[in-house]
């Protein structure tokens, strides 16, 4: 018993540096944030306890509603498109050829850029007067579309930029997943007269299911926190048409200095992301059990 405790203590010593950092940098602020969301706080500190007042205000705030709707709309534009697109790319590039290696590098390269560079590039593409798309439209004799200043086009423009930026990681995850599927299973399928289509649906896709869920979970969590692109490309405009939740939080916290109110919005976003990813995780585990642990 004593030996057991000492044994455990040794283990804890090894994880202690990480654990302490984790507690101070993540867990402590998490609870601090929760506490903050029940107070009215401004730049001059202190603040007063207001109970659920911040949350009640949020639920009635049309600007917050708009940002919730925007966030989910843009996430719905991005996540399915990105998932399908990166899966197709991975399928196309999953071969030992030298050209495939080069293309993998090219498609991954956008991921290493910072959001500032990405939005700068896409401003050149999307701007109606001198942008690439505008030039093309003019050359074809059409009216250039004002992507960044039209209420219906701002969110698609954000989605497009984000997809271009985020294509690398999911593609790499899918490529890794594809390489986990043994070659002889494909050979068995060939001997079983399976068409390319049947092979994809019955062999490849089931083999990628766990990767698929990881990609969807990661992307959902990431895109619900979309911020930089919205702030730099459209500033949330026109008239709030592309204001996301995080941009809302940023504006409230560091524009209006209503820290308690902003924290309450952050907590709601936190709970939403937690609920969505946990649901996805639960759904995965359930199907995995049905397959006997494989």
């Amino acid at each position: 018993m004593k030996a057991m405790t000492r044994h455990n203590l040794g283990g804890f010593l090894f994880v202690a540096p990480f654990l302490l950092l984790y507690l101070f940098i993540l867990i402590y602020p998490l609870f601090l944030g929760i506490a903050l969301s029940f107070r009215r706080v401004d730049l001059f500190g202190g603040g007063t306890f207001v109970g659920l007042d911040n949350y009640v205000r949020l639920l009635a705030d049309p600007v917050f509603h708009q940002s919730l709707l925007n966030t989910f709309t843009v996430a719905l534009m991005i996540v399915p498109t990105l998932t399908v697109l990166t899966l197709l790319l991975a399928l196309a590039l999953n071969r030992p050829a030298r050209s495939a290696t080069i293309f993998r590098g090219i498609f991954f390269s956008s991921s290493v850029l910072s959001v500032t560079i990405v939005t700068l590039i896409w401003r050149f593409v999307l701007a109606p007067d001198a942008g690439l798309l505008g030039e093309i439209a003019t050359a074809l004799g059409a009216e250039p579309l004002p992507f960044l200043s039209h209420p219906q086009l701002a969110l698609p423009a954000l989605a497009l930029t984000t997809i271009w930026w985020s294509i690398g990681l999911p593609m790499m995850l899918f490529l890794a997943g594809l390489q986990q599927i043994p070659e002889d299973v494909y050979e068995a399928a060939a001997l079983d007269r399976a068409s390319k289509w049947t092979t994809f649906w019955r062999v490849t896709l089931p083999g990628l299911r766990r990767t698929l869920i990881v990609v969807i979970m990661l992307q959902t969590a990431a895109q619900l926190q979309l911020f930089g692109q919205a702030q730099l490309l459209t500033g949330g405009g026109p008239s709030g048409a592309s204001r996301t939740i995080v941009l809302f939080i940023f504006e409230v916290a560091f524009g209006r200095w209503e820290l308690g109110y902003a924290t309450a919005a952050a907590e709601i976003l936190f709970i939403l992301i937690l609920a969505i990813t946990l649901t996805q995780y639960w759904a995965t585990n359930r199907t995995r059990e049905a397959e006997g642990g494989r």
Binding site: E187, A188, L191, D192, R202, P206
Partner: protein, 363 residues
């Protein structure tokens, strides 16, 4: 009419040739084993027959139909893979039915074929499980079942027993032998295990270094090896090879002298032998430990197998020799023993490796 016919099959991976002009003819319902060491080209040949690899030259015919331009699924062959290659996300039933569904076999026909195969292979109670829930032996049976339900003209087995533990391997070997009786098809099995090949196959094709070395029934391969490679690869422990000189004489059979001076009267006819260096091939059972034996050897290793004992020794000129003794042999390491060599069972190999054997097998 032959079931499978291979003519002039060649294959190279890049600049590395792996098969060089392989021709072979297999009878209907014949069980043939491709035996050879790793890298001999046997698996590549199997994959060319299956259509998983394309030949650079040559033709593959099955039941009077040229199949080498056809995709794998249209060739009328079924394959059991070394690592089973079951579809992990399908149940056992779906695994077996998958090929039939793709071939548009009617549903009731699929059902009856699958349940019949499951009955024969004793996996009926596992039909609704996933491969991940099965043991290695059960997965193996599912893989065999998936091949059987297709009712192919030719079964291709790629090292089917190599992933099983020793006990299961013996049992599966017996079951494969029984299976062969039940199916109306030829079977090709790739293996590097000569015991599997000897026990299961009607004929063995020994491959090495991109070429067929010999094709024949197991006992012919064992007792009349075409060359030194076959002689050394088949049989365990391996055949002893000793440098030997042809002794002048006027008999019809060849007498040879070994390096230590002892003379052996072989059963090999003298007139087909060229002059020059010869090598005498002796199976362990042709060399018995005997007090009055004319050849003397110093014992280096004693291997007790229970029913017999294998003695590894050296002749007085330093040549290694393998001999056999009874199970309760009293020979110990370091002893000097006499060896009685059965010259009638000896083989002679010429400098180019070609084997020469006694005309009539010693009874």
């Amino acid at each position: 009419m032959a079931s499978l016919e291979l003519t002039g099959v060649r294959k190279a991976f890049g600049s590395t040739p792996v098969l060089d002009d392989v021709s072979l003819s297999i009878e209907p319902r014949e069980f043939i084993a491709f035996l050879g060491p790793s890298g001999s080209g046997k698996s590549t040949l199997l994959r060319i027959i299956a259509g998983l690899e394309s030949a650079d030259a040559g033709e593959v015919w099955l039941d009077g139909r040229r199949i080498d331009p056809l995709p794998p699924g249209d060739r009328g062959v079924a394959m059991v893979f070394q690592h089973y290659a079951l579809y992990p996300h399908m149940s056992v039933r779906e695994n077996m039915a998958f090929g039939l569904r793709n071939a548009r076999v009617p549903a009731d026909e699929i059902e009856s074929r699958v349940s019949e195969a499951a009955r024969v292979l004793e996996i009926a109670e596992h039909l609704d499980k996933k491969p991940g829930q099965l043991s290695g032996g059960q997965r193996q049976r599912v893989a065999i079942g998936r091949a059987i339900v297709k009712q192919p003209k030719l079964f291709l087995l790629d090292e089917p027993l190599s992933n099983l533990d020793a006990a299961l391997r013996m049992r599966t070997r017996v079951e494969l032998a029984q299976l062969k009786q039940k199916v109306d098809a030829a079977v090709i099995m790739v293996t590097h295990d000569q015991a599997e090949a000897m026990t299961l196959a009607d004929r063995i094709m020994v491959m090495n270094d991109r070429r067929i070395q010999q094709v024949g029934p197991p006992m012919e391969i064992y007792s009349r090896p075409a060359n030194i490679f076959v002689a050394q690869f088949v049989g365990s422990p391996a055949m002893t090879l000793l440098p030997a000189q042809l002794v002048e004489g006027n008999g019809t059979l060849a007498n040879v002298r070994l390096g230590d001076g002892s003379e052996i009267a072989t059963g090999v006819p003298r007139n087909g032998l060229p002059g020059g260096e010869l090598r005498l091939g002796l199976r362990p059972e042709a060399v018995r430990v005997a007090a009055e034996g004319g050849t003397r050897a110093k014992v280096e290793l004693v291997e007790r197998l229970g029913e017999r004992t294998i003695i590894y020794g050296r002749l007085s000129d330093g040549q290694p020799i393998t001999a056999e003794d009874e199970g309760y042999s009293r020979v110990a390491i370091g002893d000097e023993v006499g060896l009685a060599i059965d010259g009638g069972a000896a083989h002679l190999f010429t400098a180019d490796g070609t084997g020469h054997h006694a005309t009539e097998r010693a009874a």
